[in-house]
Symmetry: C2
Subunit: 214 residues, 2 copies
């Protein structure tokens, strides 16, 4: 499977690219914004696409044409303001969905955030962040694409365990970014996850088994 990773230079994105690149069954196409990011991935032998997510849908669709699936894990990050949250986490996600449709790519996996499907669980310190995630998810559900919406809890840089807990609704908890990346890839490999949206934290169940329980 050729997988376009949008947000490849992000912390989860880098895990996804590496795991796909190491796999014998998949090829990663790392979509990045900056020349130096492109150079870094190419040194590792990873195919790249230089596209600004704040640019046009056509530009994204143009690289999406080479993919069988799209992973959206871009985020404006904690250091930018709400303006970038709107333009990357919300508008960038929706443009990527429209680009997928334009390019004829059906499969779309998005990384959201735990609990955002319930307004009363939105982050009180940054409700706009939860709102951006929520509206992107709703757009995807209505897009007609073969979606999977993964809503991880608090992200850590701990080593991956290969074990998770998933359900439509979970209490807040933590999960290593490496396990989020593994779950993204396992979702791509399991069509049972199409049309599913779920919270996810660290747990006791092997990833493939956990996904089958959904």
């Amino acid at each position: 499977m050729n997988v376009l990773i949008i947000g490849a230079n992000g912390q989860i994105g880098q895990h996804v690219v590496r795991k796909l690149h190491e796999s014998s069954e998949h090829n990663a196409i790392a979509m990045v914004r900056k020349e130096e990011q492109k150079a870094k991935f190419e040194e590792q032998g990873v195919k790249t696409a230089l596209v600004d997510l704040e640019g046009s849908i056509d530009d994204i669709a143009n690289v999406a044409k080479e993919a069988d699936a799209i992973v959206f894990t871009a985020g404006s990050g904690g250091h930018t303001g709400a303006d970038k949250t709107m333009m990357i986490d919300l508008d960038g996600a929706i443009k990527s969905m429209e680009a997928a449709k334009q390019a004829g790519v059906k499969r779309f996996v998005i990384v959201s955030a735990i609990g955002v499907h319930h307004r009363d669980k939105w982050m009180s310190s940054a409700p706009y962040y939860s709102a951006a995630k929520y509206y992107a998810d709703v757009w995807l559900e209505k897009s007609g694409l073969d979606y999977t919406i993964i809503r991880p809890g608090g992200l850590t840089n701990d080593p991956g365990t290969g074990k998770i807990k998933v359900a439509v609704d979970l209490e807040r908890g933590q999960i290593p970014r490496a396990d989020v990346a593994s779950t993204i890839i396992a979702s791509l490999e399991d069509n049972h996850t199409i049309g599913k949206a779920f919270d996810m934290i660290g747990g006791e169940t092997p990833i493939e088994e956990a996904l089958k329980s959904l």
Copy 2:
């Protein structure tokens, strides 16, 4: 017609409230956030509802029950950041639509901004503002409500002329807020505007006649 005005204390909202209040056919319900705003409207004999647009859908639905139509003209304004744009112009609008459905109010008129239905016309200085307006409008179009989406050009405090120019796409131009308010009310009175979305600037055609041309 009992009309709930969300954003009643805004510059357009105040015009709408006054015009409805002076009309013999309609009653205004001014939805406001602060006690002093409530007091101001009540001194004028206008019915009010004290509801925070950043609160729950239920709270909005509760006052919407008394209305036959909803006018959404709330905006976070130019002095707040993109976080408030997300929570008022986008999330507040969408919550109001959900509240309308919950309360069984079908008719919903929203004030958007000229050109936001074309990405290449989004404000380069504040694309998040255009994005918020755009996504609220799209949500409304898909809501099942009897909507009218009014997209005025640059707003001025000039006296109203009663004459406008409307079309799905117009070049940028200015329009007095008083004329936007008159167009909102004329739209409520003309079911031909249901399901319509249009740009609007100052023009030569009387409002009622202009709306019939859509």
